[in-house]
């Protein structure tokens, strides 16, 4: 085994064990950032020793013993005079004596502890970006370097984000606990937001550049499954999971051999991952059982589900999609949602009805400079036979488009409209 192989093998064990290490230490030390520091030290020790000694037979127990020893040392070295800490240290020694074999990896129910840790990492006091970095680090076991590469940011930026976030957590003395009742729903949305941010960061990336970008999708999906299994009564947790599973099911069909993106309606549906679609539909079914079909994530998932359930693009149930968009538009005021609704209405009812919606969006400041607005408008005008107006819209959209491929496509459509105008 080369040093690099050993390194990768150790990180693999680490990713499995790390959340449990942090939660165990956090419970004893009552300090999540400190617990995280000490588990990182245990990892460094493993990275130093295991290449020499080989990976121990029970690597999880080794890491746990090493982390606990560090926690004990820390308490002894530090504020030993403080009675509270003495008590904790004593407790821990008691525990260690009572459990000389630390192979209890399977005996504690990680669920509640993990949920508590996720709520801490995603505390609303932290910025969204800081929450995402801290979550990837503490829950997913990614290193600072991996997070930086995944977000295409310098190491120093991520390192600083993590340090600041941990300081905020330490200084504010935030309780390490799972919120209950009304507070749970509020805090949960702060967690779901972070998970979806991580997912989209990976999903919208031009793929194939770096495995760590798609890796973000997978980590977000995993977090989504974690939340759905440890907070099973929260419909939006299942809604977000459904949305992510259904979106991710199209991954293999989203780019062509040259790496260019393929629009959903043009994708080869045989490449959609049926296993993942089934999982997404199961999660959506769970949302409905819980009476949460009207949630923000659930509605978006239901829209994607309409696409995944259609065997061909032509079989898409556009009137259902436009109905779901109308529901979504009623709870999130967003011109982007309205624009999407217009597209669905255009497919379900025809271009006239859709154009009425789009025309109301033209003055929307949030859509100024957004190329899809003139692009959709051009398409509707073209279908109505108003070719000269359509040409002008496509030309405007091409001028605004961010990437070459889209610009080319829009210029081609402008030229088609111009030809149609000539021969009309």
């Amino acid at each position: 085994m080369t040093a690099a192989d050993a390194h990768r093998a150790i990180l693999a064990v680490w990713r499995i064990e790390q959340p449990r290490l942090i939660t165990s230490l956090a419970r004893m030390l009552r300090d999540v950032p400190l617990a995280e520091d000490l588990t990182q030290e245990a990892l460094l020790a493993a990275l130093e020793r295991w290449p020499v000694t080989g990976v121990p037979e029970k690597p999880g127990a080794w890491l746990m013993a090493s982390a606990k020893r560090r926690a004990l040392d820390h308490l002894r070295r530090g504020r030993m005079l403080e009675r509270k800490h003495e008590m904790i240290a004593w407790d821990m020694e008691e525990q260690q004596q009572a459990m000389p074999d630390l192979d209890s990896a399977l005996d504690d129910d990680i669920g509640d502890e993990l949920l508590r840790l996720i709520f801490t990492a995603c505390h609303p006091r932290l910025s969204r970006e800081a929450r995402a970095a801290l979550t990837l680090r503490m829950i997913c076991g990614l290193t600072t370097e991996e997070i930086a590469r995944a977000f295409l940011l310098p190491n120093a930026t991520i390192a600083q984000r993590i340090v600041r976030a941990k300081r905020t957590l330490s200084e504010s003395g935030l309780a390490y606990e799972t919120p209950r009742g009304q507070e749970l729903s509020e805090r949960l949305s702060s967690v779901l937001e972070v998970v979806y941010l991580v997912f989209n960061e990976g999903y919208t990336a031009a793929s194939g550049l770096d495995w760590l970008r798609p890796q973000l999708c997978n980590e977000a999906l995993r977090l989504g499954r974690v939340l759905a299994s440890i907070a099973p009564h929260e419909p939006e947790a299942h809604g977000l999971l459904a949305l992510m599973e259904l979106n991710a099911s199209r991954t293999a069909a989203r780019i062509d051999a040259a790496g260019e993106p393929i629009l959903m309606l043009d994708q080869n549906r045989a490449l959609w991952d049926q296993f993942q679609i089934r999982r997404g539909m199961q999660a959506l079914g769970r949302v409905r059982e819980l009476g949460g079909a009207g949630g923000v994530y659930a509605l978006q998932a239901a829209i994607i589900a309409c696409h995944t359930q259609a065997r061909t693009a032509g079989e898409t149930d556009w009137s259902r999609i436009s109905g779901l968009y109308a529901e979504l538009a009623a709870i999130v005021r967003s011109p982007i949602v309205d624009l999407n609704r217009a597209v669905a209405v255009g497919m379900a009812e025809g271009p006239e009805a859709a154009l009425a919606i789009v025309n109301r969006l033209v003055c929307e400041p949030a859509l100024t400079g957004y190329h899809l607005l003139p692009s959709v408008r051009g398409d509707l005008l073209h279908r109505l036979g108003r070719y000269e107006e359509a040409r002008a819209e496509f030309a405007a959209a091409a001028a605004l488009a961010g990437n070459r491929r889209e610009r080319n496509l829009l210029m081609r459509r402008a030229a088609d409209a111009a030809d149609a105008a000539m021969s009309a």
Partner: protein
């Protein structure tokens, strides 16, 4: 990456209650960790059948199959970052067998899905 773990053994008989309990705990932990997507144990070979093509002929053979040495006892589907994680995970699973099912010998084969992307 999505992996299928296939557990094969020539060892007949059901697992010990201790192993069964430990495997349930491990499965529960892995489901809660979002890594284990699906799993299942398979009934004995005698209840199965094979549909095969040999010499251009289709044929059905009911179990047990005399030539079968190692039998697939169960499978699991995991979503993991990469092969190293899959090996670590399978190692933990097999360690339970070593500790709690004395005398058992077998293989946990892990294979990445061809189409599951990255």
């Amino acid at each position: 990456m999505r992996f299928m773990f296939i557990v094969k053994s020539a060892h007949p008989g059901p697992p010990t209650p201790e192993l069964l309990e430990a495997m349930n705990k491990l499965a529960d932990r892995e489901i809660k960790a979002g890594r284990l997507l699906d799993m299942g144990g398979l009934t004995p070979l005698v209840t199965g059948a094979q549909v095969r093509i040999a010499d251009g002929q289709l044929g059905v053979v009911d179990g047990p199959f005399v030539e079968a040495k190692e039998v697939i006892g169960g499978y699991a589907i995991f979503e993991l970052p990469g092969k190293e994680e899959a090996v670590a995970s399978a190692t933990e699973f097999m360690q339970l067998h070593k500790d709690l099912f004395p005398g058992w010998e077998g293989v946990c084969e892990l294979r990445a899905f061809a189409s599951s992307g990255s």
